[in-house]
């Protein structure tokens, strides 16, 4: 097995385990509490509205909005890490068919692996810090994945038939 295939398959398996482990941890220890907080803050905002206290209602909506922001990103990160893991393994299985030399295949494999790790990492970091750094990490990861995917599509199209 070539080095690029090994890199993609083993990285993919590790990333799948990491993504599933993250999902299991999130489902067991975080998700139920977050869902309670989401439903609770939204209901509270409307009950405050029913009492005519619009300041309290808006404050509860802010809590709802912040919790929703974190929840969406946590669930997205879980599904994106696993999705990328599957993509890495699939490419790993057939990477030798790419119409490029092994050195170029290795470079593409690294681009895809680094992008697959850093893009969701940047997204989950946004739950800790909403500044520019996590967004830059996510954008960098996404850019690497896009470049790698475009090159891989070209490589598969260049493959000669049987």
């Amino acid at each position: 097995m070539s080095g690029s295939r090994k890199l993609l398959i083993i990285s993919g398996m590790l990333l799948a385990l990491w993504g599933m482990g993250f999902g299991l941890y999130y489902a067991l220890f975080v998700e139920h509490q977050v869902l309670d907080k989401l439903g609770g803050s939204l209901a509270t905002s409307f009950t405050d509205g029913a009492k005519g206290d619009l300041i309290a209602a808006h404050a509860s909506l802010q809590t709802y909005s912040d919790t929703q922001f974190d929840y969406v990103r946590s669930v997205d990160v879980h599904s994106h890490w696993i999705g990328f893991a599957i993509l890495l393994i699939v490419f790993g299985v057939g990477f030798d068919r790419l119409g490029f030399k092994e050195s170029r295949r290795m470079l593409l494999a690294w681009l895809l692996v680094v992008g697959s790790v850093t893009f969701p990492l940047g997204v989950i970091l946004q739950t800790l810090d909403r500044g520019i750094v996590p967004q830059a990490v996510a954008a960098l990861g996404a850019g690497l994945v896009i470049i790698a995917l475009a090159a891989i599509a070209l490589g598969f199209a260049r493959t000669e038939g049987n």
Partner: protein, 371 residues
Amino acid sequence: MEQAKTGFEAMSARRLLIIGGIALIVTGMIFGDVFAVFVLHQNANKIGEALIGVTDAVAAKDSVAVIASFTNIGGLLENRGTKVDTHVHVIDFGYLALLLALIQPYVALAKRARKRLAVLFIIGAVMLPVSVFLIHYVGLAHSPLTTIGWASILADLGGLLVIIACLGELAGLWRSARGARDAIPEDASLKDRSWASRALLTGGTLLVLAGFLHGARYAIADLSEHEANDREVLEEMIDRSAIVQTQIDKDMMFAHKSVETYGTLQAEKAVKIAAHSHIIEFGLLAMLLAFVQQYVFLSERWTRRWVIVMLSGSVVLPVFVLLEAQYPKWVRLIGGTADFGGLLVVIALIGMLVGVLRHGGQLDARKGARA
């Protein structure tokens, strides 16, 4: 001998994973179609009605009714969420099963250990989504815990079985990388460069790229705006309902209009995310199918036909799902076309499953004839 070479003998890990994987994907897609037709839209309408009830309760200063309506909405959201999760997990486990089948040549474990891992994986892959589906119906009945019920516990157990199976496969890969020799030999499926295989690989990669670009565009251009609008419309809903508390004629038109806007916003978000995830998943599926061509016993002409059917359906479904939000007047026609795209993919998959079963049957018959 031929079966042992490809690792595709009866009840082998590879055959279990390929047939189990395709069956899981077909089941998940049919479940998704049934869910979309019979649950999704009806559920969204009920949530809209419950939200109108919430605004009416706010206007009537009735906090108890507000809580009752939210409890109702919570139930409706759980119903929808668990069904979406079931659909997604069945299909994703199907993909993972196909992947594990493909990497079997690099899993240096004894034949029996590989088969046990495959069975463990399939048990977990069925247990998790079935349990998730039951969460809404079982609730907290007889649960030893205060926050999660038996269905959630069993779902987590299913997930754990899948993780254990993947860890076992990873150990096999590790042994293979270190030079252990009990891996099955690599077969021609990974070197197959037939027209069908190349079309599926290139088409699949392009679909994934298109889905990723669409997702990036959504994250940059729409996500923050949707999140801000989400909060803004909810605030409007409360404010407009609260204003009515002091009015004599109790006109709820503006508050109800906000509920309508909120529904439109949620629908827009949902279709954009659905288009993103479906186009990527179909791309992955196309690539996976490229690698199992060797196990599909069909004529060249039929193989090409179902490749075209598969790729056409993979483009039609997400594109028309996206168009649903842009042309609400034509939603039935556009939604129907999107469902037709899904049907094309299901037909192509069933065709392939039949081809795989025929291939297995052919190998078994040859073995029987020799014996």
